[in-house]
Assembly symmetry: D2
Homo-oligomer: 404 residues x 4
């Protein structure tokens, strides 16, 4: 019954496309056993995948920075067509093209009631919160595949209103599963609004998405910092200012030059724990970004922190960092009355409105992140190039659905 | 013209009451020179002080943990009667009894416009934010005195509606200048609301104020943790549960026993950087409280951090801590999607509503913090006993205004 | 199969208890046909009802003020024990005692995503929003019965953590299905917070619930207005001030006398469209309450309007009122910069936190509304007495579950 | 000393430019006597006016719809250069070019503390809230003049950071005194955000400003309705969709055609009480707009109501309307769980961020409202043409400061 193909982690630096079973309307064994709930999933749907993107957080696993076992299936940025639904799927229909939030959520627990789908209580026995194809996230099969099972489908699926329109804008819509809402969440929690000046640390896809989100929220200036020239160039391509962190000059000095003052109203950490010190030869310095955005943010400002920080990082630079304890300049943050918002983006809080912004042409996220389509078989190459710092967002198209 | 008496820092562990000039309607030299504004202050008022409290943050100076020079005047928790007003004081009148927010603010800058009076831009050349009688806070004369000058009086003064009623409730109202709003701010920014379970770290006056604030906000259970038995007893006296951190058992274990689960909905750090490790013999461990409240707070919860963290702490345990860089378990906070709110409480955002709660009898903050009146001459004893862990909030009564 | 007994509307002024079919795990025909969804409801549960209250809004039907047909089953304030669950009920278990929000919601539509369960899109073909046992609300069978079917049970049911504790507090917990959240919603949307002065128009159960909610939210004074002396007495019994609207003196004058000023910070309309003019002999004057709370509320204040206004009222005083168009003093509201919040309370936004407030003893709603238990057979008497202005909230106990 | 020239109301349909005294640093007699405060105003500044716009609300007076006496000075949309400051003006300096919020506020009362500068308690003895050059608004001299006195100047003035840049963008910046914040307030209080569909009733300057504000806030579609073709054309010129209300078809039908559904997410009433019924020959129907936006707004949506409703309208169609009581479809609003936000825009809440949006080029409000410069002497013509429905916003340039 090996009727599905999926990207699999094969060891540090290595992924492959392998065959696995076609998905069933059943919960993963980890979830069933750990939470003692029914295996049969009448609430689930099976999707034929239209697009599925490679994410920066996949790289943490592939670089061997996590405890992901060889054989871990990958992929949590999923857009697909419904091909089968369970008995209790009432509102999603076969043929619908839908975006799937990367955070799996039940829609029936206290956290989901509060809109905090990133920490759903019913989808992962190890801790609140789950995702497709990710270590320690509930054992759900990854979606860099041909098909995938989506539980609680009526709750999790965001249906696109028109099929042709959806396929037409698919490279934008595919960003709704993760990075566009994640960047937007960073901007919103940082307090970005009409007229704000904004600093985004990191010009990878999440950083670029945060920058575009800040524009949508009305920012008067968006400055993006990174150490890779082509990524900075990408940021400039849609109207951002940029700061080259590998060049001389402190961040406040560079902001002063661009904005006339050394601070911004709001800042977003789109890098997370694998941050490196500034300057070309600096090594990993996991709190660098967090500390630098405190320095760069006005008193009373907000810091949005969508960049991932983890509780266990076996490859970290020191023992404290291995358990996620970092040297944070909390004294500075406190003196400036900063607010820090952390955690996974609860995608469902934003994906519908961002879909509307895309469909109306207001948001042009595919351009901003330089979406680049590849085949499923090309996934290993996509991983390699992305890890090398390519200023592209790779979109896997397993069935050749995306128009050339 | 030495017609005023004030508490003065005389070196580590030592304060004295000394005579200084009677206040004038003028800005401090530091402010005038640093910000290049007019010295003459038609916006100012002079208050005859009714009550003025000793604050935990005064202790940082008196313990020699700051760069406060010998001679630093002290006192920022001020309640007084208006005895003189400048030409541009239109709404405060001689004879009014008023509460004075500890954070001095101009009411005319962007931060004040946004309600962020704790980081006012026009009252301190060294950095945003100022206070009476505090090192590095603008050079304003302290208010543990007989008289004090209050700038921008129409903006800063909160007038009590009735003189007799005010004197009757003066031991409650005196807490409006700092700790009651500060504790309330901690509770509000932690997200405390009807039905919340709340953990407050620290049973000093701010912690007790936060606990009482949580009750006012409708908390279903308020748990206070400390290592001093008499302070815990004080917390129990107004209906809190308590956790003795010097005893065995982790905080989650103790919460589990009290609440049936190892976490609360919201937590407040009312300790700050002078935290000590748990257990009787543990030394100073400046991030202990911050890290423990992450552990004790539910996923998706909020952390209110009114406890002071500083950018410079010459007496700290290590070089990082000396500049306010602490080992924070940010990985844990991120995994739990926590939000962290830091900084000085902007007193004006809360003091009017808390005054109304006091005057109506809803809030009984004097009882909660065990307000204890002393004379100005007794201030040195008050400092000593407070530093020794007394479960009292010392209220200096320089003119014998408080009824016995 | 007539294994269930339920209260039924028999014509103006008349209700009876009749036998109907035992509930099945199926959606009502109206919903199935109108929305074209599956009849089979694996998401549903059947509850053996523990308590079910008579609501003021039931009276609109029973008085003949609606188009409710003879035979309409009644009852939407339901608390019960789960006795059967469908295949897709994963988290509610047989034996759980649960509160049922009166507004039926799917948990799977855009409005439910936004927390607006009062206007769910998938439960009523006639318009957004549904309720058990109510005309024009989707055709769901009423819950003043022995048993009831609850759809989308994992989403709709609020489980009480402990069975014995729940039965012990059942007269408080039974108010979670409607009036306690409804009153709380009124207070929250009016902006009630610590220290507020609050006016509640109407001392029926919703008004009393709003008044108690205002207390929980920290109000410094809660004033309740009505024209029935025994209801005002009930309001005074738990610490409210009262205004007798049948006596002389305008509302502002009476407020001035109580509060020292003629306005409050926040006001709640707990009456709705069947309002009568002030003074003993005044007739129905449907906008009276709305207009009077504008007059009684401070500039910049908020008006919470949980009291029901309708789009069709065949028995209204004039043609405009028949279609819900009333003479509103919008000029006054505008001049005072008021904000008006209307609509059904989305119960799920509040019921969990209010449950916690009840279980901890903070909230004592049964006392506030004078909960009075009656048998199912006594329901007609309960309707009669409530309509006569009894200052009681009638709680039907169909299985004799409530301890004497 | 007739060294100032100002636009004056001369009777229905008539305005003239007349000479009056040069302003002094003193409060108006009405304010001094009514509020019993000092006449001398060391907090005030005198501005040489750079631009000052004609506002739709001026027309209410000029049409004779108010009790404005002959001789009433006009003008509340003021931008100017500081030429003199009082002793207590510390942060505004001679030479600064500043925007003046139309709502005069003291910055020292409870309402100003809460940001509600539109209902300041200390600037108008008749009621909370004041404005320059407006009947019943405190007796402040109007600013369609050469010079004007601005009280509480440090609080009220918004300083532009650079003089040359300011003059370069002056036709945009001049809209900060009223209509741009007012339109933005309408959009914000209606809940407009990224992806929203928005309906704006009225294509006059406030409506166009609201429409542009909705774009800045990220709306996916903005539909503007009016009955004047040239105004609709103006709306289309910057990307709005339009609905011609004088044509056939209901508003929901026209929205359906444009958006695929008959409702929007958020609606703004930019017309107010002088609304006319739809269709070419319909007479005045003061609640028409309010009722139509309820019909056009989705359940759970918000209604922003910056359009003016008044408490006294001597020329109204009936006795109820004369005192501001209108036939509002409150039953419909309630059934749809709508929220209504009314009142004057508190300009200071938005003008700084909107200034930043203008200076960065993000906001292009002058184009949106078709700003048209005229001389002071041409003011009477401007009034006439604007009243005739011109799709222009007239900007008076009393000193010839605006570059051709």
């Amino acid at each position: 019954m090996s009727d599905n193909r999926v990207v699999v982690y094969k060891g540090p630096g290595e992924v492959a496309v392998e065959s696995i079973d076609y998905p069933r309307l059943e919960l993963p064994t980890d979830v069933v056993d750990g939470l003692k709930i029914k295996r049969k999933a009448p609430h689930a749907a099976i999707l034929k995948i239209v697009t599925t993107n490679i994410c920066g957080s996949d790289q943490h696993m592939v670089r061997g920075r996590t405890t992901a076992p060889v054989g871990q299936t990958l992929g949590h940025e999923i857009t697909g067509e419904v091909v089968e639904v369970g008995d209790d799927v009432l509102f999603a229909n076969v043929g619908d093209i839908c975006s799937v939030p990367f955070n799996i959520a039940c829609g029936r627990c206290r956290m989901c009631d509060e809109g905090k789908t990133g920490v759903c209580l019913n989808v992962n026995p190890a801790r609140p919160g789950a995702a497709y194809g990710y270590v320690d996230m509930g054992g759900w099969v990854g979606g860099q595949a041909e098909y995938v099972m989506v539980p609680f489908a009526d709750f999790n699926l965001l249906r696109f209103p028109d099929r042709d329109q959806a396929l037409d804008k698919i490279l934008d819509l595919t960003m709704l599963s993760d990075i566009f809402p994640t960047g937007y969440h960073g901007a919103v929690t940082a307090g970005v609004t009409t007229g704000s000046t904004v600093y985004v640390a990191g010009a990878g896809p999440v950083g670029l998405a945060a920058a575009h989100a800040a524009q949508l929220l009305g920012a008067s200036a968006v400055v993006v910092g990174d150490m890779i020239g082509s990524r900075l160039q990408q940021a400039r391509s849609f109207g951002c200012e940029t700061v080259d962190l590998s060049a001389g000059g402190t961040l406040p000095e560079q902001l002063e030059q661009l904005l006339g003052e050394p601070v911004v109203d709001a800042a977003i950490d789109a890098v997370g724990f694998e941050a490196r010190g500034h300057g070309r030869d600096a090594g990993e310095a996991p709190a660098t970004v967090l500390n630098s955005i405190m320095e760069a943010t006005r008193v009373g400002g907000g810091l949005g922190i969508p960049g991932l920080y983890v509780t266990g990082d076996p490859g970290a630079v020191d023992d404290h960092a291995k358990e996620g304890t970092l040297g944070v300049r909390i004294g500075l943050g406190w003196a400036k009355s900063h607010t820090f918002a952390t955690g996974q983006c609860p995608v469902k809080q934003y994906n519908r409105q961002l879909m509307n912004a895309i469909l109306s042409g207001r948001a042009r996220i595919a351009e901003a992140v330089n979406a680049t389509t590849i085949s499923l078989d090309d996934a290993p190459r996509g991983y390699r190039e992305f890890d090398g710092g390519a200023s592209q967002k790779f979109v896997i198209d397993p069935h050749g659905s995306v128009a050339a």
